[in-house]
């Protein structure tokens, strides 16, 4: 019993250290965002700034037009992308899960092959910009992430095939239900666990996506919060330039603190909702990992 207690102490000690390592950067970020600019210039970013100040947030508030615009874009693409992605993934996965689908082998292969081989960034970019003319449109932020290359379809298909008894579908069929009705009334309600999982993954993907914005969007009006953050990481002045309100605030820009405040604004929603969906997220990861 004694050694057992010792073991527990050691294990807890290791995890407290690991947890600290994971949290410390966030703490540094948050504390820095509440520092006065002069204390950052003199002492650097620190865990306990010599002088607390809200000037960074006051500054961001003055730029609220650009900020709220970006939040709006992010929320819009996340909501639309998640629902559209779920819908067409499920629509595509369901027929593939049915054994009586004509040409099932070929169609499955077509979906599966996208996991193995892709044209690469350059052709994809050219197709989206030159053929579909999506540069600087909201579509460019939504469409590339919809099915994430067939991976989600495979997960949903496997779930449909394993967890929905064929007999249910057959009996509904005999009762005269149409294919769409079966899908909508029976298959979808029975598949809530997998749909929730995929929905959560899509939400995270859309919320965190900065890459599509980086390559397809040049207009500040269409920047998502991640893209705004991305530009500001390199160029703090960017927020001012992108502000359509036209306020002139170039005097005494608290650059260092503003940067960190901006990052705080970027992660705040996630940190706030994380405790609530953490449980589902872990479940989702486990389903996603095991084929």
């Amino acid at each position: 019993m004694k050694t057992n207690d010792m073991n527990q102490v050691v294990v807890h000690a290791i995890f407290i250290l690991l947890a600290a390592l994971c949290l410390i950067p966030f703490v540094l970020l948050i504390m820095s965002s509440f520092s006065s600019e002069s204390s950052i210039v003199n002492n650097g970013y620190s865990f306990w700034p010599s002088e607390f100040s809200l000037e960074a947030y006051t500054y961001l508030w003055a730029q609220k037009a650009a900020m709220f615009n970006s939040y709006g874009i992010t929320i819009l693409i996340t909501v639309v992308g998640t629902f559209a992605g779920l819908l067409i993934s499920a629509l595509l996965a369901y027929p593939l899960s049915r054994r009586d689908l004509p040409m099932r082998g070929i169609l499955s292969f077509l979906v599966f092959f996208t996991l193995l081989f892709n044209g690469g960034l350059v052709p994809t970019y050219l197709i989206y910009t030159e053929v579909f003319h999506m540069k600087d449109t909201l579509m460019a932020l939504i469409i590339p992430g919809l099915l994430t290359n067939g991976f989600f379809i495979l997960l949903i298909r496997t779930f449909f095939a394993n967890s929905i008894p064929v007999q249910i579908i057959e009996s509904a069929y005999i009762d005269g239900a149409s294919e769409f009705k079966i899908f909508y009334r029976m298959v979808l309600p029975l598949s809530l666990p997998i749909l929730a999982t995929i929905g959560l993954m899509l939400t995270i993907n859309y919320w965190n996506d900065w890459f599509n914005g980086l390559i397809y969007i040049t207009e500040p009006r269409l920047f998502s919060i991640q893209n705004l953050l991305n530009r500001m990481l390199v160029n703090i002045q960017f927020l001012q330039q992108s502000n359509m309100g036209g306020q002139n605030m170039s005097v005494n820009l608290p650059t260092n603190a503003v940067r960190m405040a901006m990052a705080v604004v970027g992660i705040l929603p996630l940190i706030l909702i994380y405790p609530f969906f953490q449980k589902y997220f872990v479940k989702g990861l486990t389903i996603g990992a095991v084929k």
Binding site: Q8, V11, I14, F15, L18, A19, L21, C22, L23, P25, L28, S32, N43, G44, Y45, S46, I88, L92, L110, V111, F112, T114, L116, F117, G119, G120, L121, V122, P123, T124, L126, I127, F132, I143, P144, L146, G150, I153, F180, N208, F211, I215, Q226, L229, N230, L233, N256, R259, M260, M262, A263, G266, Y274, P275, F281, V282, L285, T286, A289, V290
Partner: protein, 289 residues
């Protein structure tokens, strides 16, 4: 029912596959993609004649290779330890915290790293190094530190995710094995070595092979956001993905960039097939197809 999905796949995946012909063309926007002149393997010749191909291939493989090894070892260790935590509430708390880095975007990670490493105001330069009497370092101009920095950042971000997966496998192990082992007087270490590890071996294998199959693809965000795209660091931070991106977006060298992209896709494709073949030889159940 399948029409929207299939249409999407054609648009997002199959059209670009035909687009690989760009790699064999001398792209001229005036003539359009199809109208541009064929130049055969010239783009590939240019690519492989320069030092670039060697550097980006080396970086890609070395980084991803060490990520695979470190991630696996680290995540399994953490998962085993987490399984030992008796207090359920504490276990859930640790797991949540370790998973947190996985959820934030690479842009934010870039900010976090900047707050640590920034030359004029970073925590390391102004607070930590002086404590040990060391001089500040211009991190973003010193290539030699970056292999370590990127590895640490990557490990920090990825451990939580992998740990959850391995933990799920460990929880699935029948408790009777451990009870029997305890009766036989096996120590914790013995139990881990002869029960836990062998029983989660299928999960380890499949995760590793999946990673090896994707060894030619890097996390673009890690290599682009975290070093802030800093020029002096390129020899040690440039991977195929960043090279392709730069060729396309900044240099406008579409031919070379798509040649590099096709090289990546092809080698990646072969590696996936190869690793799947190896798994299916070992155990049909574990194979992807």
């Amino acid at each position: 029912m399948m029409i929207p999905g299939l249409a999407y796949l054609i648009m997002n995946n199959y059209l670009p596959m035909f687009g690989v012909i760009i790699a064999f063309k001398d792209i001229n926007y005036a003539k359009g993609i199809l109208g541009s002149d064929w130049i055969g393997f010239k783009n590939f010749e240019y690519l492989f004649k320069t030092q670039d191909a060697v550097v980006i291939t080396r970086n890609t493989i070395l980084y991803n290779g060490s990520f695979i090894i470190l991630n696996t070892v680290f995540a399994i260790s953490v998962a085993i330890l987490l399984n030992e935590v008796r207090n359920k509430f504490a276990a859930r708390f640790y797991q949540s915290v370790i998973l947190l880095p996985f959820l934030i975007s690479m842009v934010i990670v870039g900010y976090l790293v900047l707050s640590m490493l920034s030359a004029e105001s970073g925590f390391l330069n102004l607070n930590l190094l002086p404590m040990f009497g060391m001089k500040p370092i211009s991190w973003y101009f010193e290539p030699r530190y970056w292999p370590y920095i990127l590895t640490i950042v990557q490990l920090w971000k990825a451990t939580g995710y992998l740990c959850v997966i391995f933990l799920a496998a460990i929880i699935g192990i029948d408790n009777e094995y451990y009870e029997a082992a305890t009766i036989d007087g096996a120590s914790k270490w013995h139990q881990i070595r002869s029960i836990t590890i062998p029983l989660i071996a299928p999960t380890i294998t499949i995760m590793t092979l999946l990673a090896i199959g994707r060894i030619f693809y890097s996390d673009f965000g890690l290599f682009y956001q975290v070093p802030l795209n800093s020029g002096p660091l390129q020899p040690v931070t440039d991977v195929i993905d960043t090279y392709v991106y730069r060729g396309l977006m900044t240099l406008g060298d579409i031919g070379m960039s798509s040649a590099a992209g096709l090289y990546q896709s092809l080698v990646g494709f072969i590696l996936v097939l190869l690793s799947n073949y190896i798994v299916s030889r070992g155990n049909k159940e574990n194979a992807l197809f």
